[in-house]
């Protein structure tokens, strides 16, 4: 079997199918580290962390903010199942900015007895940072 030259990338969140498109290259934030996927990649199933996903169509790069979930890789097909997924253009920068401040304030407080809240704040901070990062990329390109 000849190697496929394109990947079909699908991003699905619990509420909707976010995107489905032909792409040349995908990089996803795997929980063990970034995973670069080119057509013909071996079959793989990996979990994801909060991070930035990007894909390339020709010369054009697109960025998405995603959080948690997993990715299923087939030689010509990549399916990302993420709890949160947002395109760079859809990100509400002000909201992310506020979330970042809130999380930072919470983290600045002395660690309380409940580590759970600390963990939540840490995740919230990570999410907001990724959102801002992805959004800024969309702006610089535009």
């Amino acid at each position: 079997m000849a190697l496929p030259t394109k990947l079909t990338l699908e991003v699905v969140t619990p509420d909707r199918a976010l995107m489905r498109d032909e792409v040349d290259e995908v990089v996803v934030p795997g929980s063990e580290g970034e995973l670069g996927i080119l057509p013909g990649h071996t079959t793989l199933l990996a979990t994801l962390k909060v991070g930035e996903l990007w894909y390339r169509q020709g010369q054009e790069k697109h960025h998405l903010a995603i959080a948690f979930g997993f990715v299923e890789v087939l030689p010509d097909h990549v399916t990302v199942l993420a709890q949160v997924g947002e395109r760079a253009v859809d990100i509400d920068v002000q909201r992310a900015e506020r979330a970042k401040q809130r999380a930072e304030q919470r983290l600045a407080r002395p660690p309380s007895t409940a580590d759970f809240d600390f963990e939540r704040a840490r995740i919230a901070l990570m999410k907001s940072l990724i959102r801002l990062q992805v959004a800024s990329r969309a702006r610089t390109r535009a």
Binding site: V12, T13, P14, D15, R16, A17, G30, S31, E32, L35, T42, T43, L44, L45, A46, T47, F68, G69, F70, E72, L74, T79, L81, Q83
Partner: protein, 300 residues
């Protein structure tokens, strides 16, 4: 024309004015029910789209889980383990709507929950998680033990709401407070019919190893399959609850639409009868007046 009290023929008969008033009232009620039906129909369309949009995620999730089953000792995970008898009590998640005017939508769920409590829980010792105002009000008035409640989440239904409920359920179960977690809600079957569903959520029913039947791909796992499995199980619970929420939401609008449609038709029928009756009364009044005039003329 004589006064009403003086006329024995009219004492049992509502006056024309009363009838007109009545007709006007029914008409304005009909307008309201008609409008509510239209609103429910348009919301139903959106709710239905959400149900469909949520399907791919749930399906793929299940597929991956099934593919993983063969790799893990199923009893190993706390969410799969059946607790020893005598530990904790059953937890029931009841999903109703926040509003009424939707036929038997809410009462059916409450009835099913009642049956469950009577039949499945020894000594009726049960803890409840109540989603939706109608169910919460019902069970709170009757003094049930309520662990958690959520009201008003259907207006802006998001996955986050399901995550919160799932976290609560998982916490109850793993801490040993709950011996099992079940879910009762209206499933959206079609616009005309809803079906009450009672589902066991935790411990997660043994996943069928469909892997043998379906042609599976030999994946490279990163991290190890056991780890992925552990990560996925709580998400599986979240997805189940989310699905129940959006199904219930769609079913609510379907039930409301049907109920309002029936109400609109009933009021149309009522209007017809009232109009007919009013005409008869008017006719009778005119006839009587003519008789009065004629007999008066004959007397002179």
């Amino acid at each position: 024309m004589g006064s009403r009290e003086a006329d024995p023929a009219r004492t049992n008969m509502p006056s024309l004015i009363d009838l007109r008033r009545r007709i006007r009232a029914v008409k304005s009620t009909q307008q309201i029910t008609k409008a509510m039906k239209m609103i429910a129909a348009s919301r139903l369309k959106r709710a239905q789209e959400r149900v469909i949009a949520a399907r791919p995620f749930a399906q793929r999730m299940l597929k991956v889980l099934n593919g993983l089953v063969s790799y893990v000792e199923q009893d190993a995970h706390p969410l799969l383990r059946i607790p020893p008898p005598g530990v904790g009590k059953p937890l029931l998640i009841v999903i109703t709507a926040d509003r009424g005017l939707c036929g038997s939508f809410n009462s059916n769920v409450i009835k099913a929950a009642g049956h469950f409590i009577l039949n499945e829980t020894p000594g009726r010792d049960v803890a409840l998680v109540l989603i939706g105002r109608k169910g919460r009000d019902f069970f709170r008035r009757r003094g049930f033990e309520i662990r958690y409640e959520q009201v008003g989440i259907f207006q802006k239904l998001a996955f986050g709401a399901a995550v919160e409920i799932a976290d609560e359920a998982i916490e109850e179960f793993t801490s040993g407070a709950a011996s099992s977690v079940s879910l009762v809600y209206n499933e959206f079957k079609s616009v005309m019919s809803q079906r009450i569903v009672i589902e066991r959520l935790l411990p997660i029913p043994r996943l069928e190893g469909e892997a043998a039947a379906a042609p599976t791909v030999d994946y490279l796992y990163e991290p190890a399959p056991e780890q992925i499995f552990k990560d996925l199980l709580p998400r599986h619970v979240q997805v189940q609850i989310y699905r129940a929420l959006i199904e219930s939401n769609a079913a609510f609008f379907a039930a409301q639409m049907t109920a309002m449609d029936a109400a609109t038709r009933n009021s149309a029928e009522m209007l017809e009868n009232l109009t007919l009756y009013m005409n008869k009364v008017r006719q009778a009044a005119i006839t009587r007046e003519i008789i009065e005039v004629v007999s008066g003329a004959a007397a002179t």
